[in-house]
Symmetry: C2
Subunit: 498 residues, 2 copies
């Protein structure tokens, strides 16, 4: 697999081209798919958010003539539970890499707890995603426009918007708590660190703020995915681990493409065997991420504990069946749990933007090197910064700044740094989620705490409560509520004293 070893961590979400050397999309926490963007409109009706647009400044950190250009940033508001006069808090979701509606729909936790706290709910969309396009349809055109897409500008957007909104609402003393999941959780944590005067606390769910530079071992992500499958069934893990060689063997076969197309029940004949590899890969990785304890529909509709379900499929197939066919059957659960697909489109997915915002971010600041160890269920691979950099240069005309995130936000020796600095942060993680390995998994101080669940997955705590929620999840959410209550009590007490 040497031909794509350095790209192995790049997962195709939207398959733009068929050659392995042209893999364009980069794996990201909590990315969205176009199908979900359609779906959100149905779900949106459940939660009464009002949509607004804020005139936001293009560049907070320079004063060039172009910097003061205004664009319209989308945000959602729900004030039905807010006790404004009593100084009720403002719960802000720091939007991540997608349409904010999608995050609003999938962060039911905030809606669930809003009545208890008499809180205003505010979901702010991240610049360059959803409708918040600084240059309209040209936003993704080149580095000249995309250059304004990064986390620091996004954080400053949130600061400016929150401050302005509080002023307009005459609610200056209402405390703000920020929430975020995945990349949004990184933003929430960083927001508390950089803007403590605006947010009194942060709940960062599944935020891999330590997935940068050399803080976390590069193989940890895929090792964690593999561990999930191994925990479900050793045989299952072994089957998947062995399936890649079978696919490789087919790729050298004369009729390989036809055979793979047939095996994978593709709607159209495949152009590349690698499409099948990426299709499997995506299914296993995302299923590990969303290995939720209840039926859910975050990336795709899936049953409770879908990794176990996948492994049941593999373990239930006849011994004589090929590993590849078993892997296909397991992956089908991810793509076709609803049993509505007659065939699968492994190629030709489209991206509504023409390019992907996260790809850009990964090629500039969000450099998270990943490798596959010999122990993982994926083909072993290394990471070459040089090749990665060349690829980014080729695609966007920019070179990554691989040490910038840790320079700007820290990460190394985080326990020592934050032990005596900062406060009021929750880092929640579920160990089923491979991103947990890049998260904060231990308490740092009495008010910077880690809430870790062994059976939790990617920001499961932020999902709406259901009647089937297991006790550990109910408990985790209760802990979060209790901690937020403490922050607010302290805040109001301090406010009275001053």
């Amino acid at each position: 697999m040497a031909s794509f070893s350095s790209y192995i961590f790049l997962i195709i979400l939207f398959i733009i081209s068929v050659g392995a050397s042209e893999i364009k999309s980069i794996y990201l926490p909590g990315t969205y798919q176009s199908s979900l963007l359609v779906k959100k409109h149905d779900e949106k009706t459940k939660i009464p958010f009002k949509t607004h647009y804020f005139p936001q400044i293009l560049d907070h950190f320079t004063f060039l003539p172009r910097s003061s250009k205004v664009f319209y940033q989308k945000y959602l508001i729900n004030d039905q539970y807010w006790h404004k006069e009593g100084g009720g808090p403002i719960f802000v979701y720091t939007g991540n890499e997608g349409n904010i509606d999608w995050f609003a729909v999938n962060t039911g936790f905030m809606v669930d707890i809003a009545p208890k706290f008499n809180a205003l709910l505010l979901f702010i969309e991240h610049r360059f995603y959803g409708d918040s396009m600084p240059f309209g349809n040209n936003s993704y055109k080149s580095a000249k426009t995309l250059g304004y897409l990064n986390s620091q500008q996004a954080l400053a957007d949130y600061a400016v918007l929150i401050r302005s909104l509080k002023q307009n609402l005459s609610s200056d003393s209402s405390p703000v708590v920020v929430f975020g999941g995945s990349y949004g959780g990184m933003l929430a944590a960083w927001f508390r660190l950089k803007y403590p005067h605006i947010a009194i606390g942060a709940v960062a769910s599944s935020a891999p703020i330590l997935q940068f530079d050399k803080i976390t071992p590069w193989s940890s992500f895929y090792d964690a995915v593999s561990q999930d499958f191994k925990d479900a069934s050793l045989n299952c893990y072994k089957v998947i681990k062995g399936s890649w060689a079978e696919l490789d063997a087919l790729s050298t076969h004369d009729d390989g493409l036809i055979e793979v197309s047939k095996l994978f029940r593709t709607c159209k004949a495949l152009h590349s065997v690698y499409s099948a590899r990426d299709w499997l890969w995506e299914a296993f990785v995302y299923t590990a991420m969303v290995n939720y304890p209840t039926e859910a529909n975050f990336m795709m509709p899936l049953p409770a504990y879908p990794v176990e379900e996948m492994c049941k499929i593999i373990d239930g197939l006849p011994k004589g069946a090929s590993k590849l066919s078993k892997a296909f059957a397991a992956a089908s659960l991810y793509y076709n749990y609803t049993q509505t697909e007659k065939c699968f489109n492994l190629e030709g997915g489209t991206d509504s933007h023409g390019l992907h915002g996260w790809d850009w971010q990964a090629c500039t600041e969000m450099v998270m090197p990943m490798t596959c160890s010999n122990e993982s269920m994926f083909p072993p691979s290394s990471f070459s910064y040089k090749e990665f950099s060349q690829d980014c240069k080729k695609q966007y005309g920019v070179k990554p700044r691989p040490h910038w995130i840790t320079t700007e936000f820290g990460g190394y020796r985080i326990e020592q740094v934050l032990k005596r600095f900062g406060s009021n942060m929750i880092f929640s993680n579920g160990m089923q989620d491979p991103w947990s390995r890049g998260g904060v998994l231990k308490n740092i101080s009495s008010s910077i705490v880690a809430l870790v669940t062994q059976k939790g997955a990617h920001h499961v705590d932020f999902r709406s409560e259901t009647k089937n929620d297991p006790d550990w999840l109910i408990m985790q959410r209760k802990q979060e509520v209790a901690i937020i209550e403490k922050w607010l009590e302290e805040y109001y007490k301090d406010l009275k004293q001053n």
Copy 2:
């Protein structure tokens, strides 16, 4: 004085034009004068710093094609006291608005304490000052180049440079403490807040981080200047307060300019009476700032407690003499303590850059509104943001962002915010210094402390010790040393534990 009431807070340092409506320079904490820039070269030889240049990135916060342009940032190093192997600390001066050599010369405190701490000394020049010009001689050309001059970029410069230097010196675990005075003190405090993973503590001397927006009353600065003179002598204060009307009266006189030129012993006939006003104004304001307890030469050579000396001059003159002539005599102390000037140049000062970096910063982010109250010894004045903004637009083509600094760095309710967030900061202030009113004057927590001296002036604690230092100054410096020792002890203890 209505004609320039809104510009009253703009003090001319380098008188570019003679019309009051074209006052260009904006008063700044710790600004330098060209004469001092010459002087520094003599003094520099006393302190053995090695000069280096670091390849710095132009724009840390965007990824536009131009952002990655490299410029050379100057920094000074003194490693003669450093115990590198023992993990000796790195004391960094976060340079402010001027040539870094000048700050190195005037921050003898760091050199004085370096041997005790076995510390490396590092003075980093602020971008767009001294030799650290991103676009060479064109750096001040227009908003297209100056747009990259601001405090956030400067802080990021320091973060990148410090991290890189530590890596090159293989001294990753050496703790960094940042120091700064005046605007440099603001930068030091903000650096600790924004980059706690890079600096374990900050000593911010005379840092008016609360001089923004409406945090501190706008009249406080000139009220404090006035208080200094009133405390020295009520008569002195009254004479100065009355002198402006006499100058005003002369300005309507036919021979007014000739009379003022004669009275002020100008080398050339004046073009505007306002030049005399600004000349006096500058003398009183800067003398209050540097009202040091010992003879010193920061802005100008001056005796110990120069405000008292000025008032002695005023009080010692015959009752019959005009208030204006008394004010002139007092101001002469500031301009001619060495008795070497035969006449004074009140007009035609030049700026080696053609424009002033601080003017740009004041017209963009560093908006510090100032007014003169009826109780001050200066003519009453108000502040019009509209006029200020129009002036900035006219001069630089940019509009100020008056709420940006408080959005980015906070300031409102600072006690409440930092009571439970952050640590290891010293805010030192001397109440003689009018900038002290915009500083942190009360302890915020057990490790965010205010060291206030009644008789201290603008970052007097950062000056080299002299044999004439009063006890309160010796004590203040001892307290600072003791606090820094505590930070380091904690750091080394934590380091061992991890």
